[in-house]
Symmetry: C2
Subunit: 238 residues, 2 copies
DNA sequence: CGTGCGTTTGAAGTCTCTCAAACCCCGTGG
DNA sequence: CCACGGGGTTTGAGAGACTTCAAACGCACG
Protein backbone atom coordinates (compact mmCIF):
# COMPACT_ATOMS: atom_id res chain seq x y z
CA UNK A 1 0.00 0.00 0.00
CA UNK A 2 1.90 2.99 -1.24
CA UNK A 3 -0.20 5.28 0.90
CA UNK A 4 2.25 4.39 3.65
CA UNK A 5 4.73 6.64 1.90
CA UNK A 6 2.74 9.69 2.92
CA UNK A 7 2.50 8.51 6.51
CA UNK A 8 6.18 7.73 6.59
CA UNK A 9 7.16 11.18 5.50
CA UNK A 10 4.75 12.91 7.85
CA UNK A 11 6.03 10.89 10.79
CA UNK A 12 9.61 11.77 9.93
CA UNK A 13 8.81 15.41 10.49
CA UNK A 14 6.14 15.42 13.16
CA UNK A 15 5.05 13.39 16.13
CA UNK A 16 1.47 12.41 15.40
CA UNK A 17 -1.14 10.41 17.34
CA UNK A 18 -2.25 7.23 15.58
CA UNK A 19 -5.78 8.56 15.55
CA UNK A 20 -4.71 11.52 13.42
CA UNK A 21 -2.93 9.26 11.01
CA UNK A 22 -5.98 7.05 10.81
CA UNK A 23 -8.24 10.00 10.16
CA UNK A 24 -5.99 11.24 7.42
CA UNK A 25 -5.69 7.82 5.88
CA UNK A 26 -9.44 7.43 5.81
CA UNK A 27 -10.01 10.51 3.68
CA UNK A 28 -7.44 9.77 1.00
CA UNK A 29 -9.48 8.83 -2.01
CA UNK A 30 -8.64 5.71 -3.97
CA UNK A 31 -5.48 5.90 -5.95
CA UNK A 32 -5.46 7.41 -9.40
CA UNK A 33 -3.01 6.21 -12.02
CA UNK A 34 -1.47 8.81 -14.26
CA UNK A 35 0.72 8.46 -17.30
CA UNK A 36 3.95 10.35 -17.81
CA UNK A 37 3.68 14.09 -18.51
CA UNK A 38 0.11 14.30 -17.36
CA UNK A 39 -1.02 17.59 -15.87
CA UNK A 40 -2.39 17.37 -12.34
CA UNK A 41 -3.37 20.98 -11.74
CA UNK A 42 -2.68 24.13 -13.71
CA UNK A 43 -1.83 27.69 -12.80
CA UNK A 44 -5.02 29.59 -12.22
CA UNK A 45 -7.03 26.56 -11.14
CA UNK A 46 -9.00 26.88 -7.97
CA UNK A 47 -8.39 23.67 -6.12
CA UNK A 48 -10.99 21.70 -4.25
CA UNK A 49 -8.70 18.82 -3.44
CA UNK A 50 -5.02 18.19 -3.00
CA UNK A 51 -2.88 15.23 -3.88
CA UNK A 52 -0.31 12.93 -2.37
CA UNK A 53 2.24 11.26 -4.57
CA UNK A 54 2.19 7.56 -3.84
CA UNK A 55 4.62 6.45 -6.49
CA UNK A 56 6.44 8.02 -9.40
CA UNK A 57 7.64 11.56 -9.86
CA UNK A 58 6.04 14.97 -10.36
CA UNK A 59 7.23 18.51 -10.85
CA UNK A 60 5.95 22.03 -10.39
CA UNK A 61 6.58 24.71 -12.96
CA UNK A 62 5.70 28.22 -13.93
CA UNK A 63 6.04 29.94 -17.25
CA UNK A 64 7.26 33.51 -17.31
CA UNK A 65 5.74 36.15 -19.56
CA UNK A 66 8.48 35.69 -22.13
CA UNK A 67 7.42 32.09 -22.50
CA UNK A 68 10.27 30.38 -20.70
CA UNK A 69 9.34 27.63 -18.34
CA UNK A 70 10.95 27.38 -14.93
CA UNK A 71 10.70 24.13 -13.04
CA UNK A 72 10.38 24.96 -9.36
CA UNK A 73 10.75 21.57 -7.75
CA UNK A 74 10.60 17.85 -8.23
CA UNK A 75 8.43 15.63 -6.12
CA UNK A 76 8.61 12.03 -5.04
CA UNK A 77 6.51 9.50 -3.19
CA UNK A 78 5.20 10.90 0.06
CA UNK A 79 5.11 14.53 -1.09
CA UNK A 80 2.00 16.67 -1.11
CA UNK A 81 3.00 19.17 -3.75
CA UNK A 82 -0.22 21.17 -3.85
CA UNK A 83 -1.00 21.23 -0.17
CA UNK A 84 -0.84 25.03 -0.18
CA UNK A 85 -3.96 24.96 -2.35
CA UNK A 86 -5.91 24.06 0.77
CA UNK A 87 -5.33 27.54 2.13
CA UNK A 88 -4.55 29.65 -0.93
CA UNK A 89 -7.01 27.97 -3.29
CA UNK A 90 -5.82 29.57 -6.49
CA UNK A 91 -2.80 27.76 -7.94
CA UNK A 92 0.09 30.02 -8.85
CA UNK A 93 1.89 27.35 -10.88
CA UNK A 94 1.44 24.07 -12.73
CA UNK A 95 1.85 20.61 -11.32
CA UNK A 96 2.40 17.62 -13.59
CA UNK A 97 3.77 14.10 -13.55
CA UNK A 98 7.29 13.42 -14.71
CA UNK A 99 6.79 9.70 -15.02
CA UNK A 100 3.91 7.31 -14.65
CA UNK A 101 2.63 7.95 -11.17
CA UNK A 102 0.03 6.99 -8.64
CA UNK A 103 -1.53 9.77 -6.65
CA UNK A 104 -4.03 9.87 -3.83
CA UNK A 105 -6.56 12.67 -3.69
CA UNK A 106 -7.81 14.41 -0.59
CA UNK A 107 -10.92 16.49 -0.73
CA UNK A 108 -10.40 19.93 0.79
CA UNK A 109 -13.70 20.01 2.64
CA UNK A 110 -13.08 16.67 4.25
CA UNK A 111 -9.57 17.66 5.12
CA UNK A 112 -10.78 20.92 6.66
CA UNK A 113 -13.25 19.02 8.81
CA UNK A 114 -10.53 16.66 9.92
CA UNK A 115 -8.11 19.43 10.76
CA UNK A 116 -10.72 21.28 12.79
CA UNK A 117 -10.70 18.56 15.40
CA UNK A 118 -7.05 17.59 15.07
CA UNK A 119 -4.72 20.48 15.80
CA UNK A 120 -1.62 18.29 15.77
CA UNK A 121 -2.39 17.21 12.25
CA UNK A 122 -3.02 20.79 11.19
CA UNK A 123 0.30 21.71 12.65
CA UNK A 124 2.02 18.84 10.88
CA UNK A 125 0.67 20.01 7.55
CA UNK A 126 1.72 23.57 8.27
CA UNK A 127 5.15 22.16 8.96
CA UNK A 128 5.17 20.29 5.67
CA UNK A 129 4.42 23.48 3.80
CA UNK A 130 7.22 25.26 5.64
CA UNK A 131 9.68 22.54 4.73
CA UNK A 132 8.56 22.98 1.17
CA UNK A 133 9.38 26.68 1.45
CA UNK A 134 12.79 25.86 2.92
CA UNK A 135 13.54 23.80 -0.16
CA UNK A 136 12.60 26.76 -2.33
CA UNK A 137 15.01 28.95 -0.40
CA UNK A 138 17.82 26.53 -1.01
CA UNK A 139 16.88 26.44 -4.64
CA UNK A 140 17.17 30.23 -4.79
CA UNK A 141 20.66 29.96 -3.36
CA UNK A 142 21.43 27.31 -5.93
CA UNK A 143 20.29 29.42 -8.87
CA UNK A 144 21.75 32.63 -7.54
CA UNK A 145 25.20 31.57 -6.48
CA UNK A 146 26.34 28.48 -8.34
CA UNK A 147 27.76 27.67 -11.76
CA UNK A 148 26.09 25.23 -14.12
CA UNK A 149 27.88 22.18 -12.75
CA UNK A 150 27.35 23.33 -9.19
CA UNK A 151 23.62 23.65 -9.79
CA UNK A 152 23.41 20.23 -11.35
CA UNK A 153 25.39 18.67 -8.54
CA UNK A 154 23.18 20.32 -5.97
CA UNK A 155 20.04 19.05 -7.63
CA UNK A 156 21.32 15.50 -7.65
CA UNK A 157 22.50 15.73 -4.07
CA UNK A 158 19.19 17.09 -2.86
CA UNK A 159 17.31 14.42 -4.73
CA UNK A 160 19.50 11.69 -3.37
CA UNK A 161 18.89 12.95 0.12
CA UNK A 162 15.12 13.06 -0.26
CA UNK A 163 14.89 9.74 -2.06
CA UNK A 164 17.22 8.22 0.48
CA UNK A 165 14.92 9.31 3.30
CA UNK A 166 12.14 7.38 1.60
CA UNK A 167 14.30 4.32 1.08
CA UNK A 168 14.49 4.79 -2.65
CA UNK A 169 18.24 4.83 -3.14
CA UNK A 170 20.09 1.54 -3.45
CA UNK A 171 23.71 1.07 -4.36
CA UNK A 172 24.16 4.76 -5.00
CA UNK A 173 21.60 4.47 -7.75
CA UNK A 174 18.13 5.89 -8.07
CA UNK A 175 15.45 6.41 -10.66
CA UNK A 176 15.03 9.87 -12.08
CA UNK A 177 12.94 9.82 -15.22
CA UNK A 178 13.87 13.18 -16.64
CA UNK A 179 14.91 14.69 -19.95
CA UNK A 180 17.79 17.07 -20.40
CA UNK A 181 15.40 19.71 -21.57
CA UNK A 182 13.52 19.56 -18.27
CA UNK A 183 16.78 19.66 -16.38
CA UNK A 184 17.57 22.79 -18.33
CA UNK A 185 14.28 24.35 -17.29
CA UNK A 186 14.91 23.50 -13.68
CA UNK A 187 18.47 24.78 -13.57
CA UNK A 188 17.97 27.88 -15.68
CA UNK A 189 20.38 26.62 -18.34
CA UNK A 190 20.17 25.71 -22.00
CA UNK A 191 19.70 22.11 -23.08
CA UNK A 192 23.04 22.16 -24.84
CA UNK A 193 24.86 23.22 -21.73
CA UNK A 194 23.09 20.69 -19.56
CA UNK A 195 24.26 18.05 -21.97
CA UNK A 196 27.84 19.23 -21.67
CA UNK A 197 27.78 19.33 -17.90
CA UNK A 198 26.37 15.82 -17.83
CA UNK A 199 29.05 14.59 -20.16
CA UNK A 200 31.76 16.12 -18.07
CA UNK A 201 30.35 14.41 -14.98
CA UNK A 202 30.21 11.16 -16.88
CA UNK A 203 33.76 11.20 -18.16
CA UNK A 204 35.05 12.20 -14.74
CA UNK A 205 33.14 9.27 -13.36
CA UNK A 206 31.35 11.22 -10.71
CA UNK A 207 27.81 10.73 -12.02
CA UNK A 208 25.98 8.98 -14.77
CA UNK A 209 22.44 9.76 -15.84
CA UNK A 210 21.21 7.28 -18.36
CA UNK A 211 17.92 5.66 -19.15
CA UNK A 212 16.15 7.47 -16.36
CA UNK A 213 18.57 6.20 -13.78
CA UNK A 214 21.16 8.20 -11.86
CA UNK A 215 24.30 6.38 -10.82
CA UNK A 216 26.48 8.19 -8.34
CA UNK A 217 30.13 7.51 -9.00
CA UNK A 218 31.53 9.85 -6.38
CA UNK A 219 28.96 11.33 -4.06
CA UNK A 220 31.55 13.18 -2.00
CA UNK A 221 32.52 15.09 -5.09
CA UNK A 222 28.92 15.86 -5.98
CA UNK A 223 28.12 17.14 -2.52
CA UNK A 224 31.21 19.28 -2.67
CA UNK A 225 30.51 20.67 -6.14
CA UNK A 226 26.94 21.41 -5.17
CA UNK A 227 27.92 22.87 -1.82
CA UNK A 228 25.46 20.46 -0.38
CA UNK A 229 25.24 20.26 3.34
CA UNK A 230 23.84 16.84 4.10
CA UNK A 231 23.28 17.83 7.69
CA UNK A 232 20.43 20.14 6.74
CA UNK A 233 18.02 18.79 9.29
CA UNK A 234 14.93 20.84 9.83
CA UNK A 235 12.80 17.94 10.84
CA UNK A 236 11.28 17.34 14.21
CA UNK A 237 11.10 20.50 16.26
CA UNK A 238 9.08 21.72 19.25
CA UNK B 1 1.14 53.16 16.22
CA UNK B 2 3.09 51.25 13.66
CA UNK B 3 1.75 47.98 14.97
CA UNK B 4 -1.26 48.70 12.81
CA UNK B 5 0.90 47.79 9.85
CA UNK B 6 0.86 44.15 10.89
CA UNK B 7 -2.90 44.17 11.35
CA UNK B 8 -3.39 45.88 8.05
CA UNK B 9 -1.46 43.26 6.16
CA UNK B 10 -3.10 40.36 7.96
CA UNK B 11 -6.54 41.76 7.23
CA UNK B 12 -5.71 42.17 3.57
CA UNK B 13 -5.19 38.44 3.31
CA UNK B 14 -7.61 36.96 5.81
CA UNK B 15 -10.93 37.70 7.37
CA UNK B 16 -10.32 37.83 11.11
CA UNK B 17 -12.57 38.41 14.11
CA UNK B 18 -11.70 41.52 16.10
CA UNK B 19 -11.10 39.34 19.13
CA UNK B 20 -8.31 37.50 17.31
CA UNK B 21 -6.71 40.75 16.28
CA UNK B 22 -6.94 42.01 19.84
CA UNK B 23 -5.38 38.84 21.21
CA UNK B 24 -2.54 39.09 18.76
CA UNK B 25 -2.02 42.75 19.47
CA UNK B 26 -1.84 42.09 23.17
CA UNK B 27 1.09 39.70 22.90
CA UNK B 28 3.30 41.83 20.70
CA UNK B 29 6.05 43.00 22.99
CA UNK B 30 7.03 46.64 23.08
CA UNK B 31 8.81 47.89 20.05
CA UNK B 32 12.53 47.44 19.68
CA UNK B 33 14.58 49.94 17.71
CA UNK B 34 17.35 48.58 15.55
CA UNK B 35 20.05 50.35 13.59
CA UNK B 36 20.87 49.62 9.98
CA UNK B 37 22.59 46.31 9.22
CA UNK B 38 21.72 44.82 12.56
CA UNK B 39 21.28 41.07 12.70
CA UNK B 40 17.89 39.91 14.00
CA UNK B 41 18.38 36.16 13.92
CA UNK B 42 21.07 34.01 12.43
CA UNK B 43 21.14 30.70 10.61
CA UNK B 44 21.28 27.92 13.13
CA UNK B 45 19.53 29.86 15.88
CA UNK B 46 16.69 28.14 17.61
CA UNK B 47 14.00 30.76 17.88
CA UNK B 48 11.82 31.34 20.89
CA UNK B 49 10.13 34.39 19.47
CA UNK B 50 9.31 35.85 16.12
CA UNK B 51 9.23 39.41 14.88
CA UNK B 52 7.00 41.81 13.03
CA UNK B 53 8.50 44.65 11.09
CA UNK B 54 6.79 47.83 12.14
CA UNK B 55 8.90 50.27 10.18
CA UNK B 56 12.02 50.12 8.06
CA UNK B 57 13.36 47.30 5.93
CA UNK B 58 14.86 43.88 6.54
CA UNK B 59 16.23 41.08 4.41
CA UNK B 60 16.83 37.38 4.65
CA UNK B 61 19.99 35.79 3.36
CA UNK B 62 21.92 32.58 3.26
CA UNK B 63 25.56 32.01 2.51
CA UNK B 64 26.51 29.07 0.35
CA UNK B 65 29.48 26.86 1.13
CA UNK B 66 31.67 28.72 -1.31
CA UNK B 67 31.13 31.87 0.70
CA UNK B 68 28.76 33.73 -1.60
CA UNK B 69 25.80 35.35 0.01
CA UNK B 70 22.37 35.06 -1.53
CA UNK B 71 19.68 37.46 -0.44
CA UNK B 72 16.39 35.59 -0.43
CA UNK B 73 13.89 38.36 0.11
CA UNK B 74 13.34 41.89 1.30
CA UNK B 75 10.82 42.74 3.97
CA UNK B 76 8.81 45.80 4.77
CA UNK B 77 6.45 47.05 7.45
CA UNK B 78 3.79 44.49 8.23
CA UNK B 79 5.89 41.46 7.35
CA UNK B 80 6.67 38.64 9.75
CA UNK B 81 9.85 37.35 8.16
CA UNK B 82 10.68 34.65 10.69
CA UNK B 83 7.20 33.36 11.33
CA UNK B 84 8.24 29.94 10.13
CA UNK B 85 10.49 29.73 13.19
CA UNK B 86 7.35 29.15 15.25
CA UNK B 87 6.97 25.73 13.69
CA UNK B 88 10.43 24.86 12.42
CA UNK B 89 12.38 26.38 15.30
CA UNK B 90 15.82 26.12 13.79
CA UNK B 91 16.53 29.01 11.42
CA UNK B 92 17.87 27.98 8.03
CA UNK B 93 18.98 31.49 7.10
CA UNK B 94 19.89 34.91 8.47
CA UNK B 95 17.56 37.81 9.02
CA UNK B 96 18.89 41.35 9.37
CA UNK B 97 17.82 44.95 9.03
CA UNK B 98 18.54 46.85 5.86
CA UNK B 99 17.84 50.23 7.37
CA UNK B 100 17.00 51.55 10.79
CA UNK B 101 13.91 49.64 11.78
CA UNK B 102 11.37 49.11 14.49
CA UNK B 103 10.31 45.58 15.17
CA UNK B 104 7.78 44.02 17.49
CA UNK B 105 8.54 40.72 19.13
CA UNK B 106 6.13 37.90 19.79
CA UNK B 107 7.02 35.17 22.20
CA UNK B 108 6.47 31.72 20.71
CA UNK B 109 4.91 30.24 23.81
CA UNK B 110 2.43 33.03 24.11
CA UNK B 111 1.65 32.83 20.44
CA UNK B 112 1.13 29.08 20.67
CA UNK B 113 -1.31 29.54 23.52
CA UNK B 114 -3.18 32.16 21.54
CA UNK B 115 -3.35 30.02 18.42
CA UNK B 116 -4.65 27.04 20.39
CA UNK B 117 -7.90 28.81 21.04
CA UNK B 118 -8.06 30.81 17.82
CA UNK B 119 -8.11 28.58 14.78
CA UNK B 120 -8.87 31.46 12.41
CA UNK B 121 -5.73 33.22 13.52
CA UNK B 122 -3.69 30.07 13.15
CA UNK B 123 -5.04 29.70 9.67
CA UNK B 124 -4.24 33.31 8.87
CA UNK B 125 -0.64 32.80 9.91
CA UNK B 126 -0.41 29.61 7.90
CA UNK B 127 -1.67 31.65 4.99
CA UNK B 128 0.98 34.29 5.53
CA UNK B 129 3.69 31.69 5.42
CA UNK B 130 2.26 30.30 2.20
CA UNK B 131 2.24 33.73 0.61
CA UNK B 132 5.85 34.00 1.63
CA UNK B 133 6.55 30.74 -0.18
CA UNK B 134 4.70 32.01 -3.27
CA UNK B 135 7.06 34.97 -3.35
CA UNK B 136 10.01 32.60 -3.22
CA UNK B 137 8.62 30.70 -6.17
CA UNK B 138 8.38 33.85 -8.19
CA UNK B 139 11.89 34.69 -7.19
CA UNK B 140 13.06 31.33 -8.52
CA UNK B 141 11.40 32.13 -11.83
CA UNK B 142 13.09 35.48 -11.77
CA UNK B 143 16.56 34.05 -11.21
CA UNK B 144 16.08 31.12 -13.52
CA UNK B 145 14.57 32.75 -16.56
CA UNK B 146 15.44 36.42 -16.76
CA UNK B 147 18.42 38.52 -17.84
CA UNK B 148 20.11 40.96 -15.50
CA UNK B 149 17.87 43.87 -16.39
CA UNK B 150 14.79 41.68 -16.27
CA UNK B 151 15.66 40.54 -12.77
CA UNK B 152 16.26 44.05 -11.58
CA UNK B 153 13.02 45.25 -13.11
CA UNK B 154 11.13 42.42 -11.52
CA UNK B 155 12.55 43.19 -8.10
CA UNK B 156 11.54 46.81 -8.35
CA UNK B 157 8.09 45.93 -9.62
CA UNK B 158 7.49 43.44 -6.85
CA UNK B 159 8.67 45.90 -4.25
CA UNK B 160 6.48 48.63 -5.63
CA UNK B 161 3.52 46.34 -5.47
CA UNK B 162 4.12 45.31 -1.88
CA UNK B 163 4.97 48.80 -0.69
CA UNK B 164 1.97 50.13 -2.56
CA UNK B 165 -0.31 47.74 -0.72
CA UNK B 166 0.96 49.23 2.53
CA UNK B 167 0.49 52.77 1.32
CA UNK B 168 4.19 53.43 1.07
CA UNK B 169 4.46 54.55 -2.53
CA UNK B 170 3.76 58.16 -3.38
CA UNK B 171 4.30 59.83 -6.71
CA UNK B 172 5.90 56.75 -8.14
CA UNK B 173 8.60 57.09 -5.54
CA UNK B 174 9.50 54.92 -2.60
CA UNK B 175 12.27 54.44 -0.11
CA UNK B 176 14.61 51.51 -0.64
CA UNK B 177 17.73 51.83 1.46
CA UNK B 178 19.97 49.40 -0.36
CA UNK B 179 23.49 49.23 -1.70
CA UNK B 180 24.42 47.94 -5.11
CA UNK B 181 26.40 45.19 -3.53
CA UNK B 182 23.30 43.90 -1.76
CA UNK B 183 21.32 44.17 -4.96
CA UNK B 184 24.00 42.04 -6.55
CA UNK B 185 23.62 39.42 -3.83
CA UNK B 186 19.87 39.37 -4.28
CA UNK B 187 19.91 39.13 -8.05
CA UNK B 188 22.81 36.73 -8.39
CA UNK B 189 24.88 39.28 -10.31
CA UNK B 190 28.18 41.06 -9.79
CA UNK B 191 28.25 44.54 -8.31
CA UNK B 192 29.76 45.91 -11.48
CA UNK B 193 26.97 44.58 -13.60
CA UNK B 194 24.29 45.81 -11.24
CA UNK B 195 25.81 49.23 -11.56
CA UNK B 196 25.64 49.05 -15.33
CA UNK B 197 22.06 47.89 -15.39
CA UNK B 198 21.13 50.71 -13.05
CA UNK B 199 22.87 53.24 -15.23
CA UNK B 200 21.12 51.97 -18.32
CA UNK B 201 17.77 52.31 -16.56
CA UNK B 202 18.70 55.80 -15.47
CA UNK B 203 19.76 57.08 -18.85
CA UNK B 204 16.68 55.57 -20.45
CA UNK B 205 14.65 57.36 -17.85
CA UNK B 206 12.75 54.34 -16.72
CA UNK B 207 14.04 54.18 -13.17
CA UNK B 208 16.33 56.07 -10.84
CA UNK B 209 17.76 54.68 -7.63
CA UNK B 210 19.59 57.34 -5.70
CA UNK B 211 20.08 58.15 -2.06
CA UNK B 212 18.00 55.22 -0.95
CA UNK B 213 15.04 56.32 -2.99
CA UNK B 214 13.60 54.65 -6.06
CA UNK B 215 11.91 56.90 -8.60
CA UNK B 216 9.90 55.15 -11.25
CA UNK B 217 10.14 56.94 -14.55
CA UNK B 218 8.19 54.45 -16.60
CA UNK B 219 6.52 51.75 -14.62
CA UNK B 220 4.89 50.19 -17.65
CA UNK B 221 8.33 49.55 -19.05
CA UNK B 222 9.58 48.11 -15.79
CA UNK B 223 6.65 45.75 -15.46
CA UNK B 224 7.20 44.67 -19.02
CA UNK B 225 10.96 44.15 -18.66
CA UNK B 226 10.44 42.24 -15.44
CA UNK B 227 7.57 40.21 -16.86
CA UNK B 228 5.65 41.37 -13.87
CA UNK B 229 2.04 40.47 -13.68
CA UNK B 230 0.48 43.04 -11.40
CA UNK B 231 -2.69 40.99 -11.23
CA UNK B 232 -1.01 38.34 -9.07
CA UNK B 233 -3.66 38.25 -6.42
CA UNK B 234 -3.48 35.35 -4.04
CA UNK B 235 -5.09 37.16 -1.20
CA UNK B 236 -8.40 36.38 0.38
CA UNK B 237 -9.53 32.86 -0.34
CA UNK B 238 -11.89 30.34 1.26
C1' DC C 1 40.26 66.83 6.51
C1' DG C 2 41.23 62.28 6.20
C1' DT C 3 39.25 57.51 5.93
C1' DG C 4 36.34 54.23 4.09
C1' DC C 5 32.44 52.38 2.03
C1' DG C 6 29.90 52.65 -2.03
C1' DT C 7 29.81 53.82 -6.86
C1' DT C 8 31.70 54.24 -11.36
C1' DT C 9 34.76 53.19 -15.34
C1' DG C 10 37.74 50.37 -18.46
C1' DA C 11 39.41 46.25 -20.41
C1' DA C 12 40.09 41.46 -20.77
C1' DG C 13 38.35 36.99 -19.97
C1' DT C 14 34.88 33.14 -19.56
C1' DC C 15 30.88 30.85 -19.01
C1' DT C 16 26.86 29.91 -21.12
C1' DC C 17 23.79 30.72 -25.09
C1' DT C 18 22.12 30.37 -29.80
C1' DC C 19 22.06 28.37 -34.12
C1' DA C 20 22.40 24.48 -36.87
C1' DA C 21 22.93 19.94 -37.98
C1' DA C 22 23.79 15.05 -37.12
C1' DC C 23 22.83 11.16 -34.52
C1' DC C 24 20.51 7.69 -31.77
C1' DC C 25 17.16 5.15 -29.81
C1' DC C 26 12.66 3.30 -29.83
C1' DG C 27 8.01 2.69 -30.91
C1' DT C 28 4.79 2.57 -34.92
C1' DG C 29 3.09 1.01 -39.03
C1' DG C 30 3.59 -1.08 -43.31
C1' DC D 1 11.14 -7.45 -40.15
C1' DC D 2 12.42 -3.28 -41.85
C1' DA D 3 11.47 1.52 -42.95
C1' DC D 4 9.89 5.64 -41.00
C1' DG D 5 9.19 9.29 -37.76
C1' DG D 6 10.17 11.90 -33.87
C1' DG D 7 11.66 13.11 -29.40
C1' DG D 8 15.84 13.24 -27.07
C1' DT D 9 20.91 13.62 -27.18
C1' DT D 10 25.21 15.02 -28.99
C1' DT D 11 28.58 17.95 -31.55
C1' DG D 12 30.66 22.22 -33.50
C1' DA D 13 31.31 26.97 -33.95
C1' DG D 14 30.40 31.69 -33.23
C1' DA D 15 28.21 35.24 -30.37
C1' DG D 16 26.91 37.53 -26.20
C1' DA D 17 25.98 38.42 -21.45
C1' DC D 18 28.11 38.76 -17.41
C1' DT D 19 32.42 38.33 -14.54
C1' DT D 20 36.82 39.50 -12.76
C1' DC D 21 40.47 42.51 -11.91
C1' DA D 22 42.04 46.99 -11.12
C1' DA D 23 41.82 51.58 -10.28
C1' DA D 24 39.63 56.13 -9.73
C1' DC D 25 36.12 58.77 -7.83
C1' DG D 26 32.59 60.67 -4.62
C1' DC D 27 30.43 61.40 -0.58
C1' DA D 28 29.38 60.95 4.24
C1' DC D 29 31.06 60.62 8.87
C1' DG D 30 34.17 60.91 12.55
Amino acid sequence: MPIEMMIRKLRQHSELPDADIGALRSIVAPVKNLSADAPIVREGDVSTQCCVILSGFAYRSKVSEDGKRQILSFHIAGDMPDLHGLVLKRMDHDLATLSKAQIGLIDHEQLERTLNTRPALARALWRESLLDAALFRQWIVNLGTRSASGRMAYLIAELRQRLGAMGMVANEQFEFPITQSKLADALGLSVVHVNRVLQAFRTEGILDLKRQVVTLGDFEKIAQLGGFDSVEDNSSGA
